[in-house]
Symmetry: D3
Subunit: 337 residues, 6 copies
């Protein structure tokens, strides 16, 4: 097991064919959640991964575990007899209607995880990297405590630790997010985030905008470098999305490491399903680093992998390393036949 991630996964319900939730008479069902998405993408890209979570011992909990196993992830679940599975309803939009998520995860099994219940030494045995995102501590106070517990354990076990800020305004306020997460940063080696979240959570960043039709990446260089310096991270990665439309985005990323900026090319992406693209980016970065590539290569690999994610229904990034490498070599958009 090279990579361990920790967080909640949910059953996701999406109306077909761009219907609004309210008009749906059926839902497509997927499984997803930030940290599971990272574990799945890493597994598909060739890195053995384990996902740690808490799940209800009912059909939905087992659906979640099975779909993780299907992608080759080693599931280390604490099974709960009483709680419910987290759900979320995702409505896919079209300009000028943004896609939207309705969370229904209160009271989930994972939100009721308790400190001390996970044997971190056993979980981390043989592992080299630990990844968690800001969603996990947002779930509940006890989940935040277990997140801290995990970070400490990972560092003491000598793992590289990455943290995706993943701010969710529907789960907590910016203030609470900052109060809980700033103390956690001391255990973090690599921070991964978007253009918007660092300003909300750490007060470092560019003013949020309604309109991300065009995005200069340069101002974000400075944000990344500031964060790197202020928190002492080994690296800070920021994804950069331009979305003049919902179905057509452009996607890139930068990494600040050792005071230098590493920059990925920009991809025009036709958006089938962009949920999980950030997670695919994290996975790409982790996989590339675990395979001992430098940051230039890692940010290129991660950006290409996550560009491909936008084209795949569901939360999971179902691509192989060779597909990512084809894209990096400039693959044609013609039918392959």
């Amino acid at each position: 097991m090279d990579l361990v991630t920790f967080g909640e996964a949910m059953v996701r319900l999406t109306p077909p064919a761009f219907q609004r939730l309210e008009q749906a008479h059926s839902f497509d069902a997927y499984v997803g959640g930030g940290e599971l998405n990272v574990a799945v993408a890493a597994s598909r890209l060739g890195v053995a991964s384990r996902w740690v979570s808490r799940l209800p011992d009912n059909a939905l909990g087992h659906m979640i575990a099975n779909r993780a196993r299907e992608q080759g992830v080693d599931v280390r679940a604490e099974w709960s007899a009483d709680d419910r599975a987290g759900l979320y309803f995702a409505e896919l939009g079209a300009a000028p209607r943004a896609s939207s998520v309705l969370y229904d995860r209160a009271g989930s099994a994972m939100s009721r995880i308790t400190p001390g219940s996970i044997d971190w030494a056993s979980v981390f045995d043989g592992a080299r990297w630990f990844h968690v995102s800001g969603i996990t501590p947002a779930l509940s106070d006890s989940a935040a405590k277990v997140t801290a517990e995990a970070l400490v354990a990972a560092k003491s076990a000598g793992l590289t630790v990455s943290y995706d800020l993943n701010y969710r305004s529907k789960l907590w306020s910016g203030e609470k997010a900052r109060a809980v997460q700033e103390p956690l940063m001391e255990h973090v080696d690599i921070l991964m985030t978007t253009e918007e979240d660092t300003r909300v959570v750490f007060g470092i960043g560019i003013e949020a905008r309604d309109n991300y039709e065009h995005l200069d990446s340069e101002p974000y260089d400075q944000v990344a470098l500031s964060l790197e310096q202020q928190f002492g991270f080994r690296a800070v990665a920021i994804t950069l999305r331009e979305n003049p439309l919902v179905w057509l985005n452009s996607w890139s990323a930068i990494v600040a490491a050792g005071g230098r900026i590493h920059r990925a090319p920009r991809y025009e992406v036709e958006v089938v399903d962009r949920i999980g693209a950030g997670d695919a980016f994290c996975a790409g970065l982790i996989v590339s680093r675990l395979e001992n590539h430098d940051w230039d290569e890692a940010v290129r690999f991660a950006t290409a992998a996550s560009a491909l994610k936008h084209t795949i229904p569901g939360d999971f990034c179902l691509v192989t390393s060779s597909e990512v490498e084809n894209l990096l070599r400039g693959a044609s958009l013609r039918v392959s036949r």
Copy 2:
């Protein structure tokens, strides 16, 4: 408004084509809940009906209200800003695998209804009948209190009150069900129930069985008469289901009223979706009585209406009075063309 009902409705999610929940990649979505089902069936059968509930002010809450309106029901919802919509997952079976329900309704808006929040005088204005089932008080202590409040208000407003026992072992224990509901019975005119529930809740009834392949109705005559007498009901209705198989049941009912038994014919039903059949029976009985039919006619009408419900996907009984009357006259099973 002739009929008022009070209770929770949920979004129901059912895997297509007899799939097990765990293997589903899509769900058919319906709206249902005992008391809403009664209001819908009554509306379709020609009686103006109102449904009182509490719903979250989100897409799922509005989906529920809209689907009730679609069937002509007057929705009197208290809208809640924070809570969730109740959900349930229903897996349709085949012999020897029974159909099964996974409730996910904890913390629903309706379970958090508070005493005093409903203006019952306004709700009952102009109404003639009030109906509620044992699911409503099972939702939470406060829901039980509001149920009691509603029953008192209905009686004092001079409405006929019917109560469907609807025992749900996944919601509460038999003991709790009895403790909460026995005191409510003094406000009830007509009790509606199945073969199994009275024994669990009131200790009056026939021993529960695993096997309902064949059912003698006679022993239930005595159960109905005992209940009528002991609680002083104006009538007690018991539905009688034989289910040697999942897809083929036989369905009948009796009513005890004034010390006499009124008996419906027995229907062979091919089961598309039997959820809501009991509710359709309640609605049929209410509609027939509101139209001043005697108990003989009422039990026949209610049984035929609910026999038809078994053939319709979803919780709702989408039939008209003339379709029920055709069946009572002995309609052919040949293609109507």
Copy 3:
């Protein structure tokens, strides 16, 4: 071309999964119509067939012609610039709710066919058999006139003529059906019908019943023999359906010919879609006779072919002669593998 049939085909719209029409959010689309169904079944069973009709020159008209061609039928359509395609909505039932058809065929291109517009000599060139059903003259007065025209032309061209009574109460009254059709019978060699229709149309038959749970075939022997004698038919075929349920019927048939009764075995059929079963029976009889089999063999072949039709979605009987023969030899119900 061995067989020519003449009549209307429609686009059929059926809600999936036993939904009622009113609740449908999608419809499965098929093409069907009595005489086209016969042509299709005959083509599949190995007899070259032509179907004569009138169709609108729009997407629905072409859909109808294409689906006929798909099954190998030679389509001889008069294309109309203005009229509409006939439609029908078919709701599939479950006991005790019968399946039901809502016709929407008024003003269809076929109903506006005019006498003299079809060149029957060319249509019948080289053909050996002509088949039409009582639906065609029911469409309109002009369609009735063209039906008579066709029957006369077929007889004078020396074809064998079969006529399926196919009474549709939603299209015309019994009185009108009799007034129009009795004069047509002099051109008919072989009458094909059900248990119910001869009494409505010709006053010869068994009292109609609501309940066809069990059916003695013997009384129908006398009906067939009477019809044969009274009208001077070469043969009279009557299909016999027991339908204690909607999903499980038993199916058989008799033929009276030369004063003798020829009897088919009885098949238990699990009903996927029984629309078109009567047409498949007609086709089976025609095919078997065109292949010079005697009436004993013909009624057996036709009954087996039409028993198989019950298991196939849509109006068309998509089976081969060798599948019918396997069934006649007593094919196993085990998975063939």
Copy 4:
């Protein structure tokens, strides 16, 4: 009831996934029609609305009424025992294949409405606004008479009257449209229309073009002002669509009122289903005016609401006022979560 609309609604059948009609094996079913679409959008945007029509008393007629009720519309239908429901088949295109509609509405219940059959005094009781479109008088001569009747009654009852020109070349010629509608304009306060229709119907407007890739709005200012002046309208609204592609349009509108032009911003819209966008615009204008906003605000609100309609499958504009206002404030296209 604030708003009353009058017109036909149909069952709409659309092949999934951009299939052509001819190749479809299933259809998605929606309900729609200009004036019902307006009533639905208004209801969703917070204005109580009533829709007046004539419907067949069969499953399709009830489907139409139910789907209107689902959205909160008060349905005032005259039920017809014999006629059919209007249908239309809508094929969704992709450049260079335009979307296309095949009407099948001849002989519909609504086309057979007769003068004097609607009690307009009762229908308009308490209402403040009446809306109808040019489709209603196009249905039949009697429907045109009832339209005139309604307009007179609305004016005499003191309602504001709006009229959407909605020219349909598949229903009538430009000449007939002019002859019937010019006399109606004296009862109309507010005319709503597209770039193309005024020239066809009133001879005032810009030459029609095949190509609307780019559209200057200025020439339409003069069209609107001319119409306002010539007919004495209180306001004239014109929607402005650029469609270089089928899936990506840009959408805006102007209103001429009191000799001044009020202009909305221009939205890039990714087109899921543009049918009903014009109706959503009308509803937005009506709602905003009923809420006492000035024309500047009204045209902005109406344009934003109808921009959102393009993203929603089916004819109905299922958005709330707060969603429209978010868009007017410049909502992000990022996933809301």
Copy 5:
């Protein structure tokens, strides 16, 4: 790893809704194959299982491996660069049309497995039971050789060996089946089979019949005992199916062991998908024996598990041990709620 199985799995394509293959416009896709089905069922019933096979390194090969992993099976695949994945098309029938399988597995990766390519010592390390069926040697001569190799290796590693006869007339003749398999039997401890196969393959058994409407189990007692004695098996299990219809079967089994017959109860099963029922029976027997139950209990457990399989779409038996035990205790067919 307790159980190891060895064989081919395919992508299965099934037309929805009882369509015939020829008329399908979509297929439901499942993964299945005798020995994988056994591994999956065992895993679901609580026994760690490994499946050994050869798969093409393309999307279909990975689909197969992933769906096995999803159910908890440890996949030990030899990945082939060039070959194809086996496919089969399964048409679901209705009486009197039997379900039917069209194999398209020629040239599959598994059929090209070569002797010596599997490291059986490593595969069997720690395992207690090996299972294979008669399909594997039927695939090709080299597959037959590898089957023999596996049986020898399993015995020498001390595993219990079970063999499901699984005769497939579409893969080889009875003569070839006998010639290849008789020599293999010396390595087999437990033979599992149906009523029909032993006679075809070993010449021991009851005359095959077209009609299995009613089945006396007694004659099969003697067949089982004869096989046990003649080949020296530790046990012989025979499943017994009555299929008067396609949708309703009755299902039971016997085991002969130590000269005694152990008999399971008979279940009425409503058939959603009977493919894989025999495999579920094998798995049930293996699981029960691995858990040290006696033959009486084992045959009861296996029969109940496989009765449940009939109700689940796809090849896999997705049930838990507690569901099987509920059935054995006589579970109700009422909705569980």
Copy 6:
């Protein structure tokens, strides 16, 4: 019969909604193959066409023949008792993931066609044009021999012969393609090809690129003229595709004939399904020439027809000549209603 084509058609399986193959749980099924696609498009555009092939006598072979007949194509199939139908899996992409085809056609009936088995004199009787593509000789050595046989026969029967180069790197190498096809060119009148294939196969052409975002057509003029001259073709047609994205391409073509270049306009196409666009182009060219149009008109007609193909699901170009002509006249992208 004006046009004869010769080649393989397959059952095509495509996951819905942009799913990757590996994640699909259902497939949409189409029928397609280069030469059949040409015959279908020609038939739809008004030219009687015949398709010659070899098919397995099973449900899939008949599905293929039926779908060809549905579109009016005369199917001249050699039926094979043993072989399989070719299949292909097509995954639809989104930028930056290209669409991709997984062939599963090895061992197909068509690949086993043998020289001498087709009676070409009878096949070509009365025909005016023969078309084949480079896929047919790529299937197998015997198929290549039969291709040569057909070309010789067509020329000697006086037909015009067109050849679509259609290079498939998944079927054979460029070297083999050249070795087999160069000798065939002497029988070819008109070569049809893409920008890429001539260089691979004949060494004449522009360097292949990964990126076809923008394409100057001028360099291709020279390629076409060189090919025309070198091989002595009567004409060379080259299609020109710019694909900056997967869902939005631009599409044009040139024809070199008599030393002059004929150029079509360029169409922006929104891509529903671009498979078969090249075949539609070939059909358009053939139809236009058979109707005696000059090359200017022919290349315009062919390009417009094939632009429309991009908008239609499946391999077939389901458009009429009048739809193509509307587009050539500059049809609006507005909804036609």
